[in-house]
Amino acid sequence: MTTAGINIHTGKAMPLNQANVDTDQIIPKQFLTAVTKSGYGKHLFHDWRYLDQHEQVPNPDFVFNKTEHQGASVLLTRENFGCGSSREHAPWSLDDYGFKVVIGTSFADIFYGNCINNQLLPVQLTSSQMDQLFALVESDASAQITVNLQDQTVKVKDLNFGFEIAEQHKTNLLKGLDAIGQTLELDDKITAFENNLPQWQKA
């Protein structure tokens, strides 16, 4: 979506302490009929965030509606975040809400790739590191978390964790590259591949 790169981000956390958050929860189907990429943020976690279908009554028990977490830009979660449907509306809605980074124990494959393609940084930490982050944010909701992609670190107060990310993903996030533009530079190789296909495989 955006082409600007991401390197260092500092912000407050939203502690969504739950495993297996699927993309149907992140953005339910009734919002998938739109034909644009913008405007999904207000529907993010619709079923959990609102008590009514018209989004007029916030659910006071849901973490997104707690006063102390307003303005958060770093989402904390648990294992298998973004599982289920391939809908790229999930990262679009997280981005539109204002998240720049999602930190969790693990991510579903398609969702992870969709994050990379939308300049939303997915950071994978261990379960015990997540325990420490959740505990810290519980004791101090205003704590500022700094995520440094270049150095591959997450720092907040006394906590300092390193994380792994594939080189290809890191480069794309840092530089905000146009993935299609990069591939089109290999056009000769693609054409050569097509020319080498046996006749019956040619479309």
């Binding site: 339910p28 790229e88 693990s106 591939t183 290999l186």
Partner: protein, 470 residues
């Protein structure tokens, strides 16, 4: 070096590759087939237009309308103006870019993962993508098939390639033969129950063993379809005579000399005997019983005669917490019997179970009685072709006679992007693939089952063991 089926397909499609570690590899792979639908493409086409790019291979791309269409009317606006705009946008984009579209009302229209195979568009050894996670379905043909996001749809449009990291390999062997009354749906639910909702994340699964080889193509599609529900990148079954027999003569399958050459190549598409997998899982077919999900992800599944589990049955704190939340959402108590659990809705259809064999299996149960009072039961064929075949076999009459509604093809209540949606507190026996919270409608409760089990629940008004009908 001995290689797996996945290795062979990967290798045959590499345009540009590099090693990322001792065992890791990433590269640009060629995409043979791109299936598209209305929901995940408008932004991709808009992206092309923004940059003045074209669709590189419209002839490798096929479109259908399935997700947001009515199952009661052929009118594009039957589910409101926003649905209509999305459908019309697909039609306009296909016309502009020269892509063949099977719109509502067309004889080749259907759910993308039902339509593709039945036209012969999916063949062994192909790479197949679609902006839909259930693209895994097509692995049934020994094709490497996986779901992608909209940015990747745009990438495939423009380049006919994708950048991919090579996944790890998992072999799932289902040994022995299936007991009577046990279906492909029960196999895959039992597998997901065993390895977990994220048990195959980062893997491509190859299904094998006697029970898998004995499956028809429709059944293999049901198994591969739900690979994603275990987190897998893709699911594969090596092509064999069953595959070739299914494909021969289909509209887009190779013909004449091309067919002979194709079959010769397809026969080479199997894992070498001494190939090694990163993980191997074994199941005995004889141990599989009719499966019913009790929770809010497909890994939360039990046999129909097992009691609903207690959170205390789970040692992992995350699993325990998930079980607690699921029981609350599903309004279930530990120890509860599923046979005492009333349902008020039944959905038979979807890309998992909307094929002709599924219609036959459900009808074979439906003919034993009437839909119980207070139950709404709908049958939604997966394509126009499935609907026509079912009607030729008079299955529609069996359903209607028993009190089921017989609808037009589409994704329907699997995800409720049309008006086939449930409301707060509804409990549904569903042949679809996801029992997530609110999947079929806000506050509704979904239990995943096979078509026969769904039909049995419709007649009984509660879950029932389909083996009692045999």
């Amino acid at each position: 070096m001995a290689t797996t089926l996945y290795d062979k397909i990967w290798q045959a499609h590499i345009i540009d590759a590099k090693k990322t570690s001792e065992t890791g590899e990433e590269g640009l792979i060629y995409i043979d087939r791109h299936l598209i639908h209305e929901v995940t493409t408008p932004q991709a086409f808009a992206g092309l237009d923004e940059k003045g790019r074209k669709v590189r291979c419209p002839e490798r791309t096929f479109a259908t309308m399935d997700h947001s269409i009515s199952t009661r009317s052929l009118a594009l606006d039957a589910c409101g103006p926003t649905n209509k705009l999305q459908l019309q946008t697909l039609a306009d984009n296909c016309k502009k870019h020269g892509i063949e579209l099977f719109p509502v009302g067309h004889q080749k229209q259907g759910i993308v993962h039902v339509m593709g195979p039945e036209l012969g568009l999916i063949q062994p050894g192909m790479t197949v993508v679609c902006g839909d996670s259930h693209t895994a379905t097509h692995g049934a043909f020994g094709a490497l098939a996986f779901g992608i996001g909209t940015s990747q749809v745009e990438h495939v449009f423009a380049t006919q390639t994708l950048k991919q990291s090579k996944a790890k390999s998992m072999q799932v062997q289902v040994n022995g033969s299936l007991p009577i009354g046990i279906t492909a749906k029960d196999i895959i639910l039992a597998i997901i129950g065993k390895i977990g909702h994220a048990g195959a994340t980062g893997y491509v699964i190859e299904y094998s063993g006697e029970a898998i080889s004995a499956l028809s193509m429709e059944e293999r599609m049901t198994v591969c379809n739900m690979s994603i529900e275990a987190g897998a990148k893709a699911g594969l079954i090596a092509p064999d005579q069953t595959t070739f027999d299914y494909l021969e003569g289909r509209e887009y399958a190779p013909k004449g000399d091309n067919w002979t050459q194709a079959v010769a190549y397809w026969n080479s598409l199997k894992s070498d005997k001494d190939a090694t997998f990163d993980t191997v899982i074994q199941l005995n077919a004889a141990d599989i019983t009719p499966q019913v999900t009790w929770g809010t992800n497909p890994g939360q599944v039990i046999g129909v005669n097992q009691p609903v589990p207690s959170p205390n049955d789970f040692s992992d704190p995350i699993d325990k917490d998930s079980a607690n939340k699921a029981l609350k959402y599903m309004d279930l108590a530990p120890g509860q019997k599923l046979s005492e659990l009333s349902v008020n809705n039944v959905f038979i259809g979807s890309c998992t179970n909307g094929r002709i064999e599924d219609m036959r299996a459900a009808a074979a149960i439906a003919k034993h009685g009437k839909v119980a009072p207070g139950v709404t039961a709908i049958v939604v064929p997966g394509s126009v072709s499935v609907k026509a075949q079912a009607e030729a076999e008079q299955l529609d009459k069996i359903f209607i006679e028993a009190g089921f509604e017989w609808r037009l093809p589409g994704c329907s209540m699997c995800l409720g992007m049309n008006d086939d949606i449930l409301t707060q507190g509804d409990r549904c026996a569903s042949t679809s693939n996801r029992n997530f919270e609110g999947r079929q409608g806000r506050g509704s409760r979904t239990h995943l089952v096979s078509p026969a089990m769904a039909a049995a629940a419709a007649l009984a008004g509660h879950f029932a063991d389909v083996r009692d009908y045999q």
